[in-house]
Amino acid sequence: MDFSFSTEEEAFRQEVRGFLEENLPDPVPTTPEFLREWNAKLRAKRWVGFAWPKEEGGGGGSLIEQYILKEEMSLRRAPPLGSDFMGLAWVGPALIRHGSEAQKKRFLSDILDSSSLWCTGYSEPDSGSDLASLKTRAVRDGDEYVVNGQKIWTSAAKQAKWIFNLVRTESSSRYGGITCLLIPMDTPGIEIHPIDNLSGRPGFNEVFFTDVRVPVENRLGKEGEGWRVVMGALANERSGISESTEMTRKLDSLIELARNSRKAGRPALEDTSVRRELAAFDTRIEAMRLNGMRNLSRQLKGDPPSSETSINKLLRGALEIRMAELSLEVLGSASQLEGPWQNAALSFHGTVIGGGTPNIQRNIIGERILGLPKD
């Protein structure tokens, strides 16, 4: 067991720190100009797509350097590494594994340059957490697919130029009948309806497809291989370490809130049960960080990624709820008013609701890891 880093890794950390020192003002600007410049600098250092192969335009970095890079960025609250989030998380890795040379050439450098913006079409109104039950159909017509159906919970659909879309090309096979299509969002027949979230702000979107024609060359992977394409991308680096950094920041703010709030006339931090609850949060976040590092170590050894990330999703889901509740308790009667903490307590994180509900994670652990019979 060894939590120390090699000389080269420490040197890389220093390099990252130096870069941040030089290039990241405090507070971090949020202007589009700054972000453009920032992305260009990161790109020049090959820190966008850091672990992608060099020959695909990535950094060819190791998982451990990637961990160091993300940790340092997160500690300084730097903007994300590149702005095409879905492109970097899903489309790129899938293209690298399954894309034709022409597809890679067409899309990869745009993603790395932050000049593209992808959205994804996974969930459908009746599929919920059961992604494989999707119904959006694509029928082959000469050199084109004709797509009809509906997607839901699509982020950034309005801004995106392309959608990484799962469709059903065959109905008899649940997983085997799924195909992955790359579709320009301005194709005739695509309509976008924003979904207002419970705070009344638009967040996600519904995307409707009516006789949308997609050239066959826009298919990623073979017909019927869509599930493998997506799951392969899913198995990309997902140690979940950066999630724990995010949760640490939330906890820091919550502690500040407790320090400055009064509960029944006394500082809330003096309440024994508040302090113990905060310590329990700290402990669970540390468990998330260390679970992530154990995952990373397994990946470094070449073990195939398994369902370990379900563990941190469940930890995080429970934490998000309990931390939000404690914030309301600490706010006291002011929790009746609108405010950032109160809104956070309404806006559940994705680990709590939506795609990966806790019950699905529990099924995954129960069935895939513990070997219990399927329900």
Binding site: D130, I195, K263, G265, S333, A334, Q336, E338, F348
Partner: protein, 375 residues
């Protein structure tokens, strides 16, 4: 012995239900929640005509002279519909005046509260966020036989809607040296400032008092004699709130059960899975137990006042925890759609967040139960 409602109360419930179903279905609730008044003056007039605004006021002043058990029936139904109105505030103000006021004062204010021409509320919280007489730090500055009031009251329900503000203030150092003044809307130096509530069906805000003179005819009971009256009105507030919580929690359970019967996943309605069925069963346990605790407390106010404070605290403490959990589980079981403005469950989640701390949170009330138990 009969721990159930009488036939007349069941009749009352059906009438209220009919009124709300016809006059204030969910679309109307949503419209009112976005309106500037926050309630419908038209509906308010109808409530008065149906006798529900003066439900417990003496007949001599236009009331129906019914009991708190009847009020529970009324409020369960308004809670179930999330009916937006200053009903609880006005009921509390009326009940305090009926309890503590002189015949002259009753004659002056009660008929207006009963006939819907005036709205009342009570401003019991200050910056220290301590509930009850000990929290009242605003001191009346004596001038002749009157007092001048300067300061701020926080989180005053329906502050902007109200025509009468009941304002507890301090007239001496002993904890119970409390007076309650009735300040009319047009009094010099008094003004209500609305603040956005997390639950738009419930309005709140700040009451600003700047050298507001209150004469002896505006004081309920002798000066320094209203401490017990204040505690009592807060108890009744907690009771009224719990009654609304029962209706709201039951509605949240009902719509989640319906959703679980319809929504299919992995080839079954999700209500088939124990991971969904069991939390719903627990919600049912909590709603039924809360009913038992609250009905007994309501009965005790009229029939066994000595046990009422502890009985109310048990109900409110239990309600705060139970409704919080029902709100969270209800929206979690809805999955992604619970997050959207379209489904009603989010309205109940917001109500649960608002109700948590109103009239004292779980800690406050469990501490009271502990004291009543001699701990």
């Amino acid at each position: 012995m009969n721990f159930g409602f009488e036939e007349e109360q069941e009749l009352l419930r059906r009438e209220i239900r009919k009124f709300l179903d016809e006059q204030c279905p969910m679309e109307e609730v949503r419209r009112l929640a976005q309106s500037s008044d926050g309630y419908s003056r038209e509906q308010w007039k109808q409530l008065a005509e149906l006798g529900w605004l003066g439900l417990m006021l003496p007949e001599a002043y236009g009331g129906a002279e019914l009991t708190w058990v009847d009020a529970v029936v009324l409020l369960e139904e308004t809670g179930r519909s999330l009916f937006p109105s200053p009903l609880i505030s006005t009921t509390l103000a009326g009940s305090a005046i009926a309890d503590l006021g002189s015949e002259d004062q009753k004659g002056r204010w009660l008929p207006g509260l009963a006939d819907g021409s005036r709205i009342g509320t009570i401003a019991f919280l200050e910056d220290n966020d301590v509930l009850g007489p000990a929290g009242i730090q605003l001191r009346g500055r004596p001038r002749g036989d009157a007092f001048l009031l300067s300061g701020e009251k926080r989180l005053v329900a329906d502050v902007e809607q109200a025509d009468l503000w009941l304002v507890p203030f301090r007239v001496g150092d002993p904890e119970d040296a409390i007076a309650i003044a009735v300040v009319e809307r047009d009094a010099d130096g008094a003004s209500g400032r609305p603040l956005p509530s997390i639950d738009r069906t419930k309005r709140t805000g700040t009451l600003q008092l700047d050298e507001v003179p209150v004469g002896p005819d505006a004081l309920l009971g002798p000066p320094a004699g209203a401490s017990l009256g204040l505690s009592r009105v807060l108890d009744r507030g907690a009771l009224a709130l719990c009654a609304e919580v029962i209706g709201a929690a039951e509605a949240a359970l009902r719509i989640t059960v319906e959703f679980a019967k319809q929504r299919e996943q992995f080839g079954h309605p999700i209500g088939h899975f124990q991971g969904v069925k069991h939390p719903l069963a627990e919600m049912y346990v909590e709603v039924e137990s809360l009913k038992s605790l609250l009905y007994y407390a309501a009965w005790a106010i009229d029939e066994d006042p000595e046990v009422a404070p502890a009985a109310i605290s048990r109900a409110k403490a239990y309600a705060a925890d139970a409704f919080t959990r029902i709100g969270i589980d209800g929206i979690q079981l809805h999955g992604g759609v619970g997050y959207t403005l379209e489904y009603d469950i989010q309205l109940y989640l917001k109500r649960s967040k608002w109700a948590r701390s109103m009239y004292g949170d779980a800690d406050y009330h469990y501490d009271r139960v502990a004291r009543a138990r001699g701990l």
